[in-house]
């Protein structure tokens, strides 16, 4: 039961019900579509990158509580960050989700609420869909990415 509560924390419900930056971005200069083959969920990540700084970031699409909250939290933390920071964040975040004994690095901030996902291996793809899509957008791989 406590595992379930660790997964579905209030912050997750808050971002699921009221996702932040949940819209298309007119001034985007990078974007990519993401697709979770397991459940059919799709989302689009938009970025406005200026030099090596992410000026703005948003997403469209709807999914489960975990994928929606993760996308919403991702957009919040990435605004104003350097590209290298974004890459580091994703690596730390992925490590947190896939290693039982991982401690959250200080700069993960609110992303730490998703640590409960590691007790649910079937849901790691939900939590990382937005991040995989972000990477595709930054690499300007116009093709759709999947979580496979």
């Amino acid at each position: 039961m406590s595992e379930l509560r660790d997964l579905y924390q209030e912050v997750i419900f808050d971002h699921y019900r009221k996702p932040r930056n949940h819209h298309a971005l007119a001034c985007a200069n990078h974007f990519a579509h993401g697709h979770n083959r397991l459940c059919g969920d799709q989302l689009t990540v938009y970025l406005q990158v200026d030099g090596d700084v992410i000026r703005d970031v948003s997403f469209e699409g709807s999914g489960c509580a975990i994928s929606t909250a993760s996308a919403s939290l991702m957009t919040e933390i990435l605004k104003g960050r350097r590209l290298q920071d974004a890459e580091n964040l994703f690596n730390e975040f992925h490590h947190l989700l896939t290693h039982a004994d991982a401690h959250a690095a200080a700069d993960l901030g609110k992303l730490e609420v998703l640590a409960g996902v590691r007790e649910f291996p079937a849901r790691v793809k939900c939590a990382t869909l937005a991040w995989h899509t972000l990477q595709a957008a930054l690499k300007d791989r116009a093709a759709q990415v999947t979580t496979e």
Binding site: M1, E3, L4, L7, Y8, F13, R17, L38, C39, G40, D41, G63, C64, A65, I66, F120, A122, R123, C126
Partner: protein
């Protein structure tokens, strides 16, 4: 009413004891397995039959002169006879062992349909097919230029027979339809479909992956030309399934794969193919799997298909009644003729979240598009949660499902 319930429940409680895996716990609570449309569990008798084959026989079929090889052949062919009897085929020559429903349909697509199709021709499926009864036809249409036509399904998830009738034309070469929809639980009027198609001289393939375990299947009464099913959805092993085909059609078809066992003689100048059914069984078959499937069908016969169907009908009606009372729950698939499957959505909750929370209560269901994305799109959904019943499920397991759903609703209440 109470007495009637008990009478219905008692046998299921007895049948449960035959399935070892049902004694498992998950997350510290008893397993409530309601993902039977994905695969069913295996009774002790099937597990023993497979293990016995490897322990006491384990030889190749149709070739050796030694005792074990003869025993293996006898057991393998006895399983074929069990399958024949189970679906009431006219002859074991009409029973082809394959890996499963998917391979059976691919075999018909490539060996029966492909040589007959031109750009002028068409094949008809329905809007509620599993991907395995869509993609093989898309592929053969791509190879030949033929057209794939889709018979629509109404809001309840019932096949539109009138539209199907209008889609069938002089250039229709095959109608390939599900007998029981895995995503919605709709039972299609298979006999009427066959009559309709045959009136135009068009053969019919029925995808029986779901139906085989829940409806009594009599291929001669149905009149269908091909019937495909998988062993693992009727308490048998994975990796074994059956293609039934009318002998005259199978006879006229070229082999699907080539190799050992499917030939009668080979020279570098010419190869003569073996007779039915071996012509379609290239290579060493899944011998233990076939024997296990035969044992599974005998197990079902020992209980009786009608007794199982009555029990599952009770479970589905009970579950449907309780589900209808849950605020925000929508049942997807409300056909008048349904069997064994309750597909649903909950307002504001993604099916995957339902699946995770139910799993923590020990309740295993499927969440997603059920490999039937077109019918999900038809209903404007990315997916549903699906509970599916088998002979060993009980009303108290339905209660556990409903308690789990109540918990989901409570957790997601704003």
């Amino acid at each position: 009413m109470k007495m009637e319930t008990d009478v219905l429940l008692q046998p299921a409680a007895r049948w449960r004891a035959d399935f070892p895996v049902l004694r498992e716990t998950v997350h510290g609570v008893p397993l409530v397995y309601l993902d039977n449309a994905a695969t069913t569990h295996k009774p002790e008798a099937v597990l023993a039959a497979e293990a016995d084959f490897y322990r006491r026989t384990n030889s190749n079929v149709h070739r050796g002169v030694h005792t074990l090889s003869q025993r293996a052949t006898d057991q393998h062919e006895a399983a074929r006879e069990t399958v024949r009897r189970f679906i009431n085929a006219a002859s074991t020559r009409e029973i082809i062992f394959v890996r499963g429903t998917t391979e059976a349909i691919n075999l018909v697509a490539q060996s029966f349909a492909r040589p007959r199709l031109t750009e002028a021709d068409n094949i008809i499926v329905s809007a509620m097919e599993h991907h395995s009864n869509i993609v093989p036809w898309q592929m053969v249409c791509g190879q030949t230029g033929a057209e794939l036509r889709v018979a629509p399904v109404n809001e309840a998830g019932e096949l539109d027979l009138d539209m199907l009738g209008r889609l069938i034309g002089p250039k229709t070469r095959l109608v390939a339809l599900t007998h029981l929809s895995n995503a919605l639980g709709s039972v299609t009027p298979a006999r009427r479909i066959v009559e309709l198609a045959h009136a135009h001289g068009v053969p019919v393939l029925l995808d029986g992956a779901q139906a085989i375990a829940h409806l009594g299947v009599d291929v001669q009464a149905l009149g269908c030309d091909f019937y495909a099913f998988s062993g693992h959805k009727i308490y048998g092993p994975t990796g074994i399934g059956v293609l039934y085909g009318k002998e005259a059609l199978l006879d006229a078809m070229p082999p699907y794969q080539c190799g050992g066992d499917m030939i009668s003689s080979v020279t570098f100048g010419e190869t003569r193919y073996n007779e039915l059914p071996f012509k379609f069984e290239a290579g060493t078959p899944n011998i233990a799997g076939a024997i296990g499937l035969g044992r599974a069908l005998e197990y079902v016969e020992s209980i009786g298909v009608n007794a199982i169907a009555a029990h599952e009908r009770d479970l589905l009606a009970y579950a449907t009644g309780l589900a209808a009372g849950i605020d925000g729950l929508r049942i997807v698939g409300t056909a008048r003729e349904k069997a064994s499957i309750l597909s649903f959505t909950l307002a504001g909750v993604h099916p995957h979240d339902i699946g995770t929370i139910l799993d923590h209560a020990g309740v295993a269901i499927r969440a997603g598009h059920h490999c039937a994305m077109p019918i999900m799109q038809r209903f404007g959904l990315a997916g549903t949660a699906r509970a599916s019943f088998a002979l060993y499920n009980t009303r108290s397991e339905v209660d556990a499902l409903m308690a789990g759903i109540a918990k989901v609703v409570e957790m997601f209440r704003p």
